[in-house]
Amino acid sequence: MQDRPTASELLDTIADLLEQELLAATQGPLQHAVRVAGNLCRILEREARRGAAQDAREAELLASVLGETPGSRDVLALSRTLVERLDAGADAALAQRAWPALVEIVRGKLAIAKPGHDAWDFTAELE
């Protein structure tokens, strides 16, 4: 085990440096790059805390959509199989089964990459 600070704590520290001191000391395109770097550190900080649990939940949901035993294959392999089956189009009910699982998976990705993005669900514009 590495010593404290944890990866998550260090990423927050780097983000603070970028967003507070470096942002004020730069301008133009470099300032934009610093802002982006700060935001990426915040994303990685959340990923360090929740990434493993999110991947496990994603694998579980994909396995369930595909009718496989959970834990037998990783997320990438399961995603690839789901894409192949959706492309083949042989199982008419697959799309309906996949939709709620993918919504939950993407919600989990957003909790790391862009918290709050899922607050807008387009209801008003689907009528």
Binding site: L40, R80, V83, D87, A95, Q96, V106, D121
Partner: protein
């Protein structure tokens, strides 16, 4: 001579040749300097008259999407159709003046940065619905014009732009660095629910959105950035304009974060075109999928070394936002 002076003197020499007068260039400033194009603002002085202009320069002809004279022809086509667009004063294919081919257009005052546009609307609330309506009118004027009058080298997807778009997007989905079941689900659903080919083809701007509009207190003054203008389904432009990505957090205002769909559609129909809600929804969903694939493509361009940039890298972590948006837009079909 530094590049700044070179651009200034090059513009003066070119305009003097075109206009047959002595021309001086003043107040030169670089408005934007991307990898594919540079926008330079300047005043030309001719016989004591001061003319506010913009030069759009392609610094590297190898990366231009369409030849400069074709893009200039699209601007002229739009202006002739009655759509607000910058007036083209001159086109120069000779790269020796300013280091690349360029065109010179009138400079139109107003806001172009999305958040500044939204701030303008915030200060003057009636501007929002007016702007949405003007966007509808402007697009209707462009779409009503006969595409036979466009430049012969305009990109055209054939008689069925729906099919052409599906095939292009399928290729992009296949080339993703990692599989996206959400995007595959979107592609296959859009394929199953595709509308028939449009009754008539139009010249389509292709990137008409908050960010490519010049807006003043009176409303829409011009549409910019015509480099992906093509012949296609007119509803493509309306769907693209209404993507969530161009609302800049004003999610409830479907049109660019400033207006509502009924205002947009009313303007479009008042100017003589018909708004097709089902086709609009299809193109809006397709546009969302395409933008998601575009972001994934930016991350890929960073990772393969063709455009190394932290901004491009960060785009990869924005893909989930578009996966969410496209899944929500598919809800009527799948949930």
């Amino acid at each position: 001579m530094n590049p700044f002076e070179q651009t200034r003197d090059g513009l003066a020499a070119f305009l003097a040749k075109v206009w047959g007068n002595r021309v001086e260039v003043e107040n030169l400033s670089i408005a934007s300097a991307g990898a594919r194009r540079r926008n330079v603002l300047f005043d030309a002085l001719r016989n004591g008259e001061r003319i506010p202009l913009v030069a759009t320069i392609i610094p590297n002809a190898a990366v231009q999407i369409m030849p400069i004279e074709v893009e200039a022809a699209h601007l002229r086509f739009a202006e002739a159709a009655g759509m607000p667009a910058p007036h083209v004063h001159a086109v120069c294919e000779d790269a020796s003046y300013v280091g690349g081919p360029f065109f010179v257009t009138s400079r139109i005052a107003g806001e172009t940065i999305p958040r500044q546009v939204l701030r303008l609307v915030e200060k003057n609330p009636p501007l929002g619905p007016r702007l949405a309506r003007q966007c509808g009118e402007a697009l209707a004027k462009l779409h009503a014009a006969d595409p036979a009058g466009a430049h012969p080298r305009i990109t055209a997807a054939g008689a069925d732009p729906i099919e052409a778009t599906l095939r292009a997007v399928e290729a992009l989905v296949r080339s993703l660095l990692q599989p996206s079941p959400a995007f595959t689900l979107a592609l296959r659903t859009l394929e199953r629910e595709r509308p028939p080919p449009p009754a008539r083809l139009s010249v389509v701007h292709g990137d008409f959105r908050n960010g490519n509009l010049i807006v003043g207190p009176d409303g829409l003054r011009a549409a910019l950035d015509w480099e992906i203008c093509h012949v296609g389904d007119p509803m493509e432009d309306l769907g693209w304009l209404c993507q969530r990505m161009w609302r800049f957090r004003n999610d409830a205002l479907e049109v660019g974060g400033f207006g509502s769909r009924p205002d947009l559609a009313a303007g479009y129909e008042a100017a003589g075109c018909s708004f097709d809600a089902a086709r609009f929804h299809w193109w809006k969903t397709m546009g969302t999928l395409r933008w998601g694939l575009g972001l994934a493509g930016q991350a890929k361009a960073h990772l393969d070394g063709s455009v190394p940039s932290i901004v491009m890298a960060a785009s990869g972590r924005r893909v989930a936002e578009l996966e969410w948006d496209v899944l929500m837009l598919l809800r009527r079909s799948l949930a």
